[in-house]
Symmetry: C2
Subunit: 137 residues, 2 copies
């Protein structure tokens, strides 16, 4: 367990501090994307700024990616093992309008768009909204 966590951090060149181990632990257990305020609530006593900077460094080192799901706060989720956060790693996200949870649809790549020739492409954000499998039943 602990070994796994430290491994992941080391692989991404992130010094494994206690805080970072804890945050990565939460992110690993988490099945849906999580926001900074939500992450804050997972700890009894945690500093927003520290968590903020933890997430930031995780993202800079491509351990997690952020999702603008329109829920009012940025959400974060672990990257796939092979992920380099390049355009080809982009996938569709799903926001449930009932439970307000955001899912990575890792095996659904974002479709290519034929932009007007005068526009050039850098990245793309695609969020589908609807009812998730948990809420559907």
């Amino acid at each position: 367990m602990k070994k796994e966590i430290d491994n992941k951090l080391n692989l991404k060149n992130i010094k494994p501090t206690a805080m970072r181990q804890l945050v990565l632990q939460v992110l690993t257990e988490q099945k849906t994307a999580i926001s900074l305020p939500e992450l804050e609530q997972k700890f009894e006593k945690a500093d927003k700024a520290t968590l903020y900077r933890t997430l930031k460094s995780f993202q800079e080192n491509k351990l997690i990616h952020s999702i603008e799901d329109g829920s009012g706060s940025l959400r974060y989720a672990l990257c796939q093992d092979n992920c380099e956060c390049d355009p080809e790693d982009l996938h569709v996200h799903f926001l449930c309008t009932n439970c307000n949870q955001t899912f990575c649809l890792n095996d659904i790549p974002v479709p290519t768009i034929n932009l007007p020739s005068s526009f050039s492409f850098e990245s793309v954000n695609m969020v589908v909204k609807g009812i998730c499998s948990n809420c559907k039943k």
Copy 2:
């Protein structure tokens, strides 16, 4: 000019007050989507709350649509004439990473996604980021 503005408001069942005429005027002249703070700056002395409620009523009456472009603030743009803000009216948006302006790509519909069968579709937000035609040259 004035006639056109009032016509549009009437068509959408929005009482044409002075404020609403002015805001619609701005939105009509505007070639890219505009946020509430940006709209505020278009007027010398304008109240944020009034503008906020104006945009809200415009949106409720399907005169404008809002765009979550990840720029930090919601942006708004006029709907097409025939628009009912239904899924088939959804189009791709483009945020220029240089000038920070957001464009409606009205003739590029959002591609359909085959969701996992346990998820149901309601709507979708797709924003492409890159360099716009103005900034490219």
